[in-house]
Symmetry: C2
Subunit: 162 residues, 2 copies
DNA sequence: TCAAGATTGATGCAGCTGCATTTAGTGCGC
DNA sequence: GCGCACTAAATGCAGCTGCATCAATCTTGA
């Protein structure tokens, strides 16, 4: 073991870390300036709004967002505190629950997408041709050890991060 | 305003966020399992060890690492606590100081690079040909609004993240 | 020379994250 | 039916981050 990475691989690693960090910062900053909550909230609302009846088990949400269990739990707390989601009893499994997006949640989701999509266009879209964006996707996918993720409806909403 | 991003741009954004997060997690995890501190420590030690006499102003370090001032300040605290660096008085500017890497710091840096480079190879190098890695670099660079960063000595040490 | 402003670095506070543990409920095998 | 292992979710604690602010020092310009 201990095979060294090539300089190309190392350079790619550095870029991946730096560029992602900058772009994410820029986008989060834009959202914050527009008075919106962090991206994680958007992702959660997106997942919930796409669910069949606007509700979902926390465990499901966890898988969609790729964040740990306790993190999901606390994120839901915050969404509920803000009236963006509600906890509903789960009758078939009393350990569990359902989380349901509220009308306020759907509305925030829509408003955020407007600012969010503008930020994506500004910080990504405008810097890359569609063809290059596609090439970038292809290369990145090869790093995502099996970027399972379902998708994707070319629908009229959003993009999950993380 | 409010021009929508193309689906390609959006897809690239999603990949960038997800893949970076996964790869970073994987690498950090490998380092942690090997009993090493977080990557940020490595980056700081790298910057210090590259400095002319192994010392550097916190403000300089800040620029190298692209992290906020208070963050740098506290990172230095931790390095000093662990005996990896030492604060030295700055005679020409009494507000300031120099941070100097210690021998222990240099040694940790070397040991970490061994594990770190193996992780990069495992999670990046092995999944991409050199040519593809170079292509990826090129595409990412276009997103980094002016990925200034100096570099890069094809030397025998490491790669800064963030 | 001296006040106004900029720069360097530290710190109190609130919020978030990870880790480990806890509480509660399910379901399997005997 | 009962015990035991497993899953769902919450939580206490420690550490880290961002924000705002502070104290000390330096620089500039009238």
């Amino acid at each position: 073991m201990k095979r060294k990475p090539s300089t190309e691989a190392t350079a790619a690693w550095i870029r991946l870390m730096r560029v992602q960090s900058r772009v994410l910062d820029a986008v989060e900053q834009d959202l914050k300036k527009a008075g919106f909550p962090p991206l994680a909230w958007y992702d959660a609302l997106l997942a919930l709004s796409r669910a069949p009846s606007g509700e979902m088990r926390p465990v499901e949400l966890e898988k969609h967002m790729l964040i740990p269990q306790y993190s999901t739990s606390r994120l839901i707390d915050r969404l509920v505190d803000e009236g963006l989601a509600a906890r509903r009893e789960c009758k078939i499994d009393k350990r569990g629950q359902f989380v349901e997006i509220t009308e306020a949640g759907r509305e925030l989701h829509r408003k955020m997408w407007s600012a969010y999509s503008a930020a994506i266009e500004k910080h990504v879209g405008s810097k890359l041709s569609d063809a290059d964006a596609a090439r970038l996707c292809g290369l990145l996918d090869r790093l995502g050890c099996s970027c399972d993720e379902l998708q994707s409806p070319a629908e009229r909403d959003g993009a999950p991060a993380r």
